[in-house]
Symmetry: C2
């Protein structure tokens, strides 16, 4: 049975907004980067999978930040895999400051796809082959919530450009989150309050597509739905400030 792995980060100037606190996408970026590094180090990273024409894709993600640390704050991201299902693998994270105080956590669920067919692969063999990578510790918070119905009260359009796409040739997770945040009032984004974000990915969005980002404000929460070229929802998300 494995142990949690720990990686050190610091809130750099490019990670903060004008309140000098780390943005949600910068902390989310560190979380996803940690997933990549940890899988790479353990021999089942995207680079190893690419040899078989496979890749990991993020299916669902929930992140919670009790606060957003200020510029130059050192922090540690601990990560561990708690389970493999047939379709999804669950990777967990906690974020702690230098004093050891936990200020954030995340639960992510990943599918493995075939890069040719872009369809999901049965993960049972991964669970067998990498059983020693599983850590016997429960996820640090509720798993990502499904968001079923969004009734947008505002929409924005965005054509997918080179800077939006990642190594998997689809829109980068943090770019989706930025598109959503950018529809909210700045006062909402810069308030100092605990925040939880749930996002789930239903379809990939690709270079050259035109995205429609729908936003429904509900008090201190917002629901989002992104679709590409007028098709059914590709991404749904909710953000809630406590």
């Amino acid at each position: 049975m494995a142990e949690k792995s720990r990686y050190n980060y610091r809130v750099e100037p490019q990670d903060v907004d004008f309140t000098l606190r780390a943005t949600i996408p910068s902390l989310g970026g560190s979380i996803l980067n940690t997933a990549g590094i940890d899988a790479h180090g353990k021999g089942f990273g995207v680079d190893a999978l690419n040899a078989d024409n496979h890749s990991w894709v993020l299916s669902r993600m929930a992140v919670e930040f009790d606060c957003q640390p200020t510029q130059y704050t050192d922090y540690t991201v601990a990560t561990w895999i708690s389970d493999y299902g047939r379709v999804l693998s669950t990777r967990n994270f906690t974020l702690t400051d230098a004093a050891g105080r936990e200020f954030g956590r995340a639960v992510t669920q990943w599918a493995m796809i075939d890069l040719q067919s872009r369809s999901a692969i049965d993960l049972s063999w991964v669970g067998d082959a990498h059983a020693d990578a599983i850590v016997d510790a429960a996820p640090p918070t509720d798993k990502p919530r499904k968001i079923r119905a969004v009734s947008p009260t505002a929409t924005a359009e965005h054509r997918v450009v080179y800077s939006d796409i990642d190594f998997n040739r689809h829109v980068n997770t943090m770019r989706y989150i930025e598109m959503m945040l950018d529809m909210l009032p700045v006062d909402m984004l810069t308030q100092e309050a605990p925040v939880r974000l749930d996002i789930h990915f239903l379809k990939e969005c690709r270079f050259g597509q035109t995205l429609t980002v729908g936003c429904e404000l509900r008090g201190r929460s917002a629901l989002f739905e992104i679709s590409a070229d007028g098709a059914a929802a590709a991404v749904r998300a909710s953000i809630e400030w406590k």
Copy 2:
């Protein structure tokens, strides 16, 4: 007289495009981050200046990459200040891989502004106060070139949103560069050839403004001009593949 300072980086999964090589904005981001960290460590960072309601702003930048390293490549950014003028301070950079081979370099010129009036401050006192921070080594390549006339053959519009702005409350340098790159054919961006980018900033662009990005393709080069709300040019740049 000071020595060059060195900072270590690694090309992370979020830094690469689908060719699995580091993007120009990700390498450029490491360069600017190094400037911030080094100034911070030496006591004249943005955080120290903010106490007097001052800040550093980038005025001009030239970057050259002989190649763009692949995912998980370790590299070192060395930085040094070569001179202070009355208005601009010159900070230089070289990028080297683990074998010590230089694959990139940059020359940046910075002004100090008053955050209230947004106007430049005489830097002579900084040169006096921080003379011991100057390194007696010439810039590693030509200083940033002025780009005088751009005749756009294509234009794009972009409204400045929350994710575009940085701690100085104006559009982030790498976002400008992304806006420009996103107007070019993807084949041009992913070719394996040495590239040089020159950018200069004439005016700040702020939250809520609508930017017009003009692009003029000239063979293996491109010229750009960005203006806000129909006013005169705010940013001009050129990108040239050898």
